[in-house]
Assembly symmetry: C3
Homo-oligomer: 225 residues x 3
Amino acid sequence: MKIVTVDSACSVLDDNLLPTNIISMVGIMVDHPYDRPTHIKAMPSEYSLTDYALLVNELKLCEEMLSIEKADYVHLDMSLGGINILDITEEDLLFKIPLSETGRTIIKLILPELQKTAKSIKDKYQIPVLAIGKKSHPVRLAELYAAGYGVSNAINKAKEKKQAIYVGLPVRITASLENGNVKVCSQEPMETSLCAEIPVAEGVSMEAFFNPIVRGFQTLKLTPF
Amino acid sequence: MKIVTVDSACSVLDDNLLPTNIISMVGIMVDHPYDRPTHIKAMPSEYSLTDYALLVNELKLCEEMLSIEKADYVHLDMSLGGINILDITEEDLLFKIPLSETGRTIIKLILPELQKTAKSIKDKYQIPVLAIGKKSHPVRLAELYAAGYGVSNAINKAKEKKQAIYVGLPVRITASLENGNVKVCSQEPMETSLCAEIPVAEGVSMEAFFNPIVRGFQTLKLTPF
Amino acid sequence: MKIVTVDSACSVLDDNLLPTNIISMVGIMVDHPYDRPTHIKAMPSEYSLTDYALLVNELKLCEEMLSIEKADYVHLDMSLGGINILDITEEDLLFKIPLSETGRTIIKLILPELQKTAKSIKDKYQIPVLAIGKKSHPVRLAELYAAGYGVSNAINKAKEKKQAIYVGLPVRITASLENGNVKVCSQEPMETSLCAEIPVAEGVSMEAFFNPIVRGFQTLKLTPF
């Protein structure tokens, strides 16, 4: 079973260790035994935390990856129980799917765009786009790679600015520098063998510490030297 | 404190790695220090995923085990906060216990049968049946043993059919073949020392991999050779 | 970033392994890299499980610690999404914050007292009291220290009473005796390096086992010899 998915991750943190943006989007293709991607496409673009185009662009990147290699499913990082994006109705959003008020508003806003891309994917490749989110193993694997490339991007930023920056990793992910790579591993139960290794520029030191205001999240201080 | 409980586990998966049935039911008796069963009773029966008789039969197996050795409590794999089954009223189901619409319907359907068996257990042994489910440590231990016997049953199936089959393990449980046994261990925090070892037939190889469509679940491919 | 917080933990368990009280309250000050306290203040006081003064007294202990050393934030062990205690309105409690009926009642009961102390802290130190609870890393660290001192207190109790007592640890925390200390460690993912070591009296043996009626919790049997 081949699955294509995209996830975005990592934020530069402000002085209060609060996230300010998203600095990495990565698409992956996975196949049996699902422990590493067979293809990777990293996008260094930046997004604000409230940019609803993020999810729309994630799905567009999935479509782009399908043009290189066909898959059986698209997993979208949107946690709606695995429903096919094209099957979501106004009624589902209003009554059937449990959603916060904010969640409902955002989904209503971007659903037309998502469904347009999902329709295009269905027409071209006859495969469904599933709103599976956090329940998907490939989405988690994409998150690890997005985290790895996010750290790589942040190291470049720290070098350009010639000053230390703080980066927040996704939940239950740790990072370390090893032989010119950043090694990013999941600390989630069952997933401790899941890691991503991404080459990074030299000249920046990395200190990892607990983010005191969000339990379960590691923060990195990247200092050019 | 002696506790008797029953759990069911493992499913043969279809080509889309979706579960099709339940292939193992195991009752255990536990006593201090609660790290392994003092008695085990394995039932190789099969259930469909929507067979509401499953929970009823689990409780009947508890009653059967009590006839061999008395316990202080019965833990039922039904997550209603530990309430005594005989204390559940129509009003609780309607207003007090948070339940999904489906959950409410199913419980209303099977509650009379459950209460009948719970009443019989109370009359014979003066002990309560608690609807404690996922919050119970013995229920988790029973799940491990049900998983172990489930794999054993699936290995027999693969040999009979002379073809590879896929089996889904319960959440955060891993399996491996060791010296003619399947060793099944919990990967849940605090529980990594909890394992069940069950003898299995020879002549089948086992490959474990991440189920891509349900994060946190291991899938086994069992191939006769 | 300096944070002060207080947590309470550990209970003597009855013969059914159910908690009866709270036997330890500990305040800590933390600073970068947030892996151990820079100051600790342990209070051996006992509270009943339904004593709403507990949270009020936790906040008073925070204020007391601030008089020794200033911090940037107070983290209160009350899980309301990190809202400033002084910003909570009647309307928030009624409509905006998701709360159980019991939770709502308790918070309404103690909010005036909490806000009085939070106001005093704001006036004296110009820092906010955040209702962040389980999402706070420092609150978890305080929980570890409260657990360590709780075991120490329980060991003294067992010696006084000259009989074995059972103690319940907080969720996903394990304890062991090492060189005259109790070593208490988190088993939560990401936190396995977080431990507290507290000196304890000699003459009591400790046996750790799974609490069968609450999964994920370790119970200690402390026996004077």
